[in-house]
Symmetry: C2
Subunit: 368 residues, 2 copies
């Protein structure tokens, strides 16, 4: 459904559809890669990944007291998600996931032979977590719960109260479910503090993350999963058959992501996206008169276009007007009537994108 | 079983166990990678891979008349193998594969819910293909046949007569089976001409290959699968959920693997391995009095140690003497009594390795 729109985008289109930072990979990472390409042999690493990299990742989750053996370096967080779900979910198992949520979750669950159930992030409440709804959805049969914070597609983050509530509800459910915490957007936040992780409140958590979004490293394919030893050990066996190991050059370059220079770059990228977010929200409101969700993190907002037609119809109209967005219906029933609009573009492009959106909506109104 | 030995190897061990070239990645590839890291944005490529790279790969198989859409770039040939088997094999399906053969084949088939059957590469005939045996093993129920040439673990290649015979036998079987041709070692050959591919003789072939072995790029994770449009389309969908895409930097660097400089490097690597092969075979025969298979390609030979004990016992003895080999039993019943010995080491190291092997065999004899 996402591709139905973006694959037909012409060269003059403004793409507000992508989930990929447009900023360059920080210099410190690139220079590290160049150095190892020049100076080192770059054969296979251990299948689990470079020990030095696993130690750096482990230190990012002090509350989990991870040994390096509890970290598995993957070819991007996508592989981490695939391994985690294939390891945890078997035929007939139920996975409880957010609606709206990342499109890959239910597909991989279905590949594993499991079934998907959904808890609502309420559209009427700007896609906030609804604990009462979550409690109704979790059952003793739930095998895995997926928690994505900040969220793709909404950009909303769970606050500490949400996370405590979710953790307690899972603990009370009698399910002994494992929580997969998809934290790929966690370093891109616009709140005062970095959003908390469910792993701080629920011990049976498997964290999925990587450097794609926060270090502009999508093409480098570098992610990780961490958590319970037994689960990571099983995922490691599958990983060996799926990809053997992540790229050695990407792994060695990733070591530089924990340096002060990388931290400066991370903060710089965050501030750029923060400004773009505010610019886009203001343009949507003031120029196009549209209601949009204020994201806590990631680089997406959800724009309410329910009065103009289905999200697919409106996204088609936007495409005709030269701007790519993603129909909210792709992410679940709760986000039908919305468009996911990303701010991975400079402010002038965002302004032009909103102008085209406005034009498209006028055309939608005429057709009605 | 491979790891039972190699994971216990001390720092002073000579490793003749690895399946990884020790030669550096050619300069032309490394400089291409450095250039794109310096000069270009390296976000996601299309999930199928860079169009320019797929065009280069397609041209390598002129007899298959491939369009770029029939090529899928993967995170190493391991991912290609995983995608091909998961796409082609369903619950209850039978896959016919070589004995001895690469250890990952039966495991992935089992993950896909299929069952493994085996055709023999006869140990008594230096692991040559035995068409009569193959004809007995293929049935109308065979869904997939795996053909590995040159072979891991034996280094033997199928000759043209073998390939014609296999193709005809599959066509005659009434199975309509697909043949997966694992050609990851095809550019490393010591015969006058490059070994032929089963895809030249059987249209329903899926070719798996990559640059890991011929370009010393194991750590770059760059491979491909190609063949029938419908199968590649299905594999592409799975690929999107498994890894999204291969490393962009590895893909862009791979474009240089079709330049004249890369061809020079490929020939140079091949001639180094050819000399090492001859050196190792002579040392095994003249110094240790051992019978070893003369490989047509790859960088392995199979050494007959059946008079000294089980392959596991002998490999344990070798490890105690400071040399890592792989027990043949790991690859199937037909190679029990053999060790796989690789020549990914300089000639002096190979000589020292053989000296230690000789010492270990003396100890084995004493124990008996």
């Amino acid at each position: 459904m996402i591709r139905q729109i973006s694959d037909r985008a012409g060269p003059d289109c403004i793409s507000l559809g992508l989930g990929e930072p447009d900023l360059p990979t920080p210099e410190v990472i690139r220079q590290a890669a160049i150095r190892v390409i020049n100076e080192e042999r770059n054969g296979y690493t251990l299948q689990a990944g470079l020990p030095a990299l696993r130690e750096l990742v482990a230190a990012d989750y002090p509350h989990m007291s991870l040994s390096p053996d509890q970290i598995l370096i993957t070819a991007g967080s996508q592989e981490g998600l695939y391994l985690a779900l294939m390891t945890l979910v078997g035929p007939g198992d139920e996975v409880l996931m957010p609606n709206p949520g990342f499109v890959a979750y239910p597909t991989i669950v279905s590949m594993a032979g499991g079934s998907s159930a959904f808890y609502n992030l309420q559209a009427r409440d700007d896609f906030s977590f609804d604990l009462a709804d979550f409690k109704r959805r979790i059952t003793p049969q739930t095998k895995v719960v997926i928690c994505t914070s900040p969220s793709n597609p909404t950009g909303r983050a769970f606050n500490t109260e949400d996370l405590r509530g979710m953790a307690q509800a899972v603990a009370d459910s009698g399910s002994n479910a494992c929580i997969i915490s998809d934290e790929i957007y966690r370093e891109l936040y616009y709140t005062d503090e970095r959003p908390a992780s469910i792993s701080e409140f629920y011990p049976r958590s498997i964290v999925i993350s990587g450097l794609s979004k926060s270090m502009s490293m999508t093409g480098w394919r570098l992610g990780w999963i961490c958590g319970d030893t037994e689960i990571i050990d099983s995922a490691l066996v599958l990983h060996g058959y799926v990809t053997t190991a992540a790229s050695t050059i990407s792994q060695k370059a990733a070591l530089a992501a924990w340096t002060p220079d990388a931290e400066t770059a991370r903060q710089h990228h965050r501030s750029i996206f923060h400004k773009r977010r505010d610019h886009l929200l203001a343009a949507l409101r003031d120029e196009a008169g549209l209601r949009a969700v204020t994201p806590d993190g990631a680089f997406y907002t959800m724009v309410d276009v329910s009065s103009f037609g289905s999200s697919m119809e409106v996204a088609e109209g936007m495409l005709a007007a030269g701007v790519v967005t993603v129909p909210g219906g792709a992410f679940g029933s709760e986000s039908e009537g919305f468009l996911r609009v990303s701010f991975c573009a400079a402010e002038a492009r965002l302004s032009e994108g909103v102008a085209r959106m406005k034009q498209a909506l006028r055309a939608c109104e005429k057709t009605k």
